[in-house]
């Protein structure tokens, strides 16, 4: 008589949909495994002939030196040292700048200029890394030469300064989020005890956000280790351990600088092997990040406990002092630092725009490009083609994955945790590693070759995590009551998702598209060896083509380009204008949808 009911939809159509979405979500796992596997596979010849320990701990990198034995030519210890030291210096400097900036934005910034400041930070994040690098090369390095009376300024100082500015938006935005989620009653509680605002901010709120800040710093470490295009302009390429004004290498700079002329026998596998080692670093950093995120509990304050115990025996005659001067200093610092960050951003933007405008003319923009004169016309077309195809691939995949994560997945199940870990891992993989993977896997193993198709496939992997996260975020913001309303009318899950939930998440999806376009436009490290760096008009997706960012690299590295610096600046100016437009678009879209939902 009693029937036990398993509460599960048995309808096959529903199950098929579920399976498809789950497969889309699991795609990230596949992608990460493929990247690890194929990089290892292709670097295997290098490890075998050089020896893993010779490779890792050898002190000399001189791939084409015939006077050395093969195992002695390929030692990457100086590069690892270069990457590690540069990461430490720039994350320290950038972290300090970013935390002060975040504190300023959250607690001190006047309401009226807060949106402007947020915009500036977003803009800072949107500027292509190759533009930062070129700015460093053409403005900062000559300045350093004059200031310090050194013969040349390649080295740790210039690369640290530029890289730390680049890290500010990453670290600041996460710090900002965790500061904003510190409960208001902490703030009120401290004020009610008679703390000054500055004391409250720096002694109560900032410590309460320490987990988020730690996560932000680790993410910054990942960015710094993987940063390529800016760094390769600034470190030089000396065979040295890093020094203040001494050219050195990082893992990333070696890959991108040498891949163009590396021979297939051993040099190329060795460069791929560097990519693999870099990937191992990134995976380790990601695991740290996952561990920090999991450990979200608020730990007790040991110092505080001890003080309570002491005070039990204390004689009851206290004397009260006014304190908080240190926090007042910190307050001034945070205002100064954020002003500095804002001014440097504005300076970079205007420097590039002013230098670039003079190089812009109709012929350079839209003229016919060839050997005799190189123009940007092919780059516009290539950029558009790459944007279209990579979005066409990654949008359905990303939205499907987001649907699975927010509509089907059981929160906290092992499968979901795994998927989330892999999506985060994928988003942390540096673009130069994606470039290597595209070159090896799409180009070589799938025989696609080096062309726009390869570049688009590679980019679609790069933007996938952004699309998943942004869509998932807006899906979870759709109230459950709307889903219930639809189910209660007898609508199926698939219909509910497509007719009720997805239309509401439109703003998130559009935002993710704009963000992805920004990412694609500014990408260069992943494209140079997958889509090519040529000045010809692409005929189809099977021809090589260079996007705008790659053109900057092309102008700077190819021989016989007339007036290369002015062309670089002109391209950089166009990139900055594009980034500005995309940033404004994001704001406009968000405003539009907020207005519409309030109506």
């Amino acid at each position: 008589m009693t029937t036990f009911v398993k509460l599960k939809d048995k309808m096959t159509k529903e199950n098929v949909a579920r399976a498809i979405f789950a497969a889309f979500a699991a795609f990230s796992i596949l992608a990460v495994f493929a990247i690890v596997f194929f990089l290892l596979y292709k670097s295997f010849p290098a490890f075998r002939q050089i020896g893993f320990f010779n490779f890792l701990f050898g002190g000399t990198w001189s791939p084409t030196n015939p006077s050395l034995d093969v195992p002695d030519r390929f030692g990457i210890l100086p590069m690892i040292a270069g990457s590690v030291v540069l990461t430490l210096t720039s994350v320290s400097l950038g972290g300090v700048l970013a935390i002060f900036t975040a504190v300023f934005i959250v607690y001190y910034c006047p309401k009226k200029i807060k949106p402007v400041f947020n915009q500036l930070v977003n803009l800072l994040a949107g500027i292509p890394s190759i533009v930062y690098g070129y700015f460093g090369l053409t403005f900062l390095m000559p300045l350093l030469v004059q200031l310090f009376h050194v013969p040349q300024a390649y080295g740790l100082v210039s690369s640290t300064v530029i890289l730390s500015i680049m890290l500010v938006p990453t670290i600041a935005s996460i710090t900002k989020n965790s500061l904003e989620s510190v409960p208001m009653n902490y703030y009120e509680g401290a004020l009610a005890l008679g703390c000054t605002k500055n004391q409250t901010v720096f002694k109560v709120c900032l410590p309460a956000a320490k987990n988020g800040i730690l996560a932000a710093m680790i993410l910054g470490v990942g960015r710094a280790v993987g940063e390529t295009m800016a760094v390769q302009f600034l470190v030089g390429s000396g065979d040295n351990y890093p020094g203040l004004f001494l050219p050195f290498r990082t893992m990333t700079s070696s890959i991108v600088l040498e891949m163009g002329y590396a021979d297939e026998i051993l040099h190329k596998p060795a460069l791929i092997a560097i990519g693999f080692i870099l990937l191992l670093f990134i995976l380790a950093i990601n695991l740290c990040l996952a561990a920090v995120k999991r450990n979200n509990s608020i730990s007790g304050n040991k110092l505080f406990n001890r003080k309570i115990r002491e005070s039990e025996n204390a004689v009851s005659h206290y004397s009260w002092h006014k304190t908080g001067s240190l926090q007042d200093v910190l307050w001034i610092l945070s205002c100064a630092v954020s002003l500095l960050v804002a001014l440097s951003l504005l300076f970079i933007v205007f420097f590039v725009l002013i230098k670039g405008v003079s190089g812009l003319d109709f012929n350079f923009l839209f003229g016919k490009s060839g050997n005799a004169q190189v123009t940007l016309a092919p780059a516009f077309l290539s950029t558009g083609m790459v944007i279209l195809l990579s979005l066409a691939i990654s949008l359905p995949l990303g939205i499907g994955a987001a649907i699975f994560l927010s509509e089907y997945a059981k929160k906290g199940s092992r499968f979901v945790k795994t998927i989330n870990l892999f999506i985060d891992t994928l988003s942390g993989v540096p673009s130069v590693v994606f470039g290597l993977f595209g070159m090896v896997f799409f180009g070589n193993i799938l025989h696609i070759g080096i062309n726009l198709l390869n570049g688009s496939l590679t980019l679609s992997l790069i933007v996938l995590p952004t699309i998943i996260r942004s869509t998932e975020q807006s899906l979870t913001e759709v109230p459950d009551s709307m889903r219930e309303a639809s189910y209660a009318l007898g609508a199926s899950k698939v219909r509910t998702i497509f007719k009720v939930v997805l239309p509401q998440a439109l703003s998130g999806m559009i935002t993710s598209v704009i963000l992805s376009v920004g990412r694609i436009v500014s990408e260069s490290a992943a494209l140079i060896y997958t889509a090519g760096a040529v000045a010809y008009m692409p005929q189809s997706y099977l021809s090589r083509g260079a996007t705008l960012s790659v053109m900057m690299w092309f102008f700077n590295s190819a021989d016989g380009i007339e007036n290369a610096p002015s062309k670089c600046f002109a391209t950089a100016a166009i990139l900055i204008v594009l980034v500005l437009i995309l940033n404004i678009l994001v704001t406009v879209v968000e405003k539009y949808f907020r207005k519409r939902s309030n109506k």
Partner: protein, 261 residues
């Protein structure tokens, strides 16, 4: 396309619950419930917070399926059809056993599309038929005159009371046989509440209405039958006048007379 049939209801009871138990994980929320709901009457379910009345009403069209870890034993029948049978067609069930929620939950669409959403779900495409359904449903919910000039504006811009009546109209758009209402007026002001009560009196002429309410006066005003719940058990169910004047169980008496709850 396959027709979505109504349920056959041949005797005076539209819905019967037999020996029903319900667990959320390890917590037993409903204990051995036996109830019969009269066809084309309004039955109210009252009781203190947490007594299980909302849980029960959500089981009647299996909205509880959405709650993770929810497990049901026993039988619930609409007419002669066991709705917890494995092969039960959920869309058919929910089309014929509609639901109105505690908080108005209009979809983020226009007024028109809110009503048309249900019929479209069941394959009605013709614009003229949809127009007709929208008009009848809104008239049925006594709000046609209020919204006929703003059918294409977002439903989210309506007042709370209007939104709730829209939700009732939306539930009626698919011609349910039974309408479940889970505290439909608890988020509304007295005037909107009055309108919805009037509406319920109209609705029960053509369909079976089952309503959870916190408000005993409301039950007394509009319900034909009333059931009293306490701590996951159905204590007593009878004609409303009997429950409110001569309840047979002392616990009901205590609750009705304000000695508890």
């Amino acid at each position: 396309m396959k027709q979505v049939e109504k349920f056959e209801i041949n005797n005076e009871y539209a819905l019967t619950v037999e020996n029903m138990n319900l667990w959320y994980g390890n917590f037993q929320a409903l204990k051995n419930i036996n109830m019969r709901f009269l066809k084309n009457k309004l039955t109210a379910m009252i009781g203190p917070s947490g007594c299980g009345k909302s849980t029960l009403i959500k089981s009647l069209n299996r909205m509880n399926d959405l709650v993770e870890g929810c497990k049901v034993t026993g039988t619930i029948k609409v007419g002669d059809t066991d709705i917890y049978e494995k092969k039960c067609d959920l869309p058919r069930l929910r089309k014929n056993v509609g639901m109105v929620f505690q908080r108005p939950n209009p979809l983020a669409m226009s007024v028109y599309d809110n009503i048309a959403y249900g019929p479209k779900t069941f394959g009605i495409k013709s614009k003229s038929v949809l127009d007709e359904i929208v008009e009848t449903s809104l008239k049925g919910a006594a709000m046609w005159d209020e919204v006929k000039d703003r059918l294409n504006k977002s439903a989210l811009g309506l007042s709370g009371g209007q939104q709730q009546r829209l939700c009732i109209a939306r539930a009626m758009s698919v011609e349910p046989q039974i309408l479940l209402m889970d505290e439909p007026t608890s988020a509304l002001d007295p005037i909107s509440t009055g309108k919805i009560e009037e509406l319920c009196m109209e609705l029960k002429k053509t369909m079976t209405v089952i309503m959870v309410t916190h408000n005993m006066q409301q039950a007394f005003r509009i319900a034909d039958q009333t059931a009293y719940f306490l701590l996951g058990e159905m204590v007593e169910m009878d004609d409303t006048s009997v429950i409110f004047t001569h309840p047979s169980d002392k616990r009901t008496d205590d609750y009705i007379n304000g000695r508890f709850g």
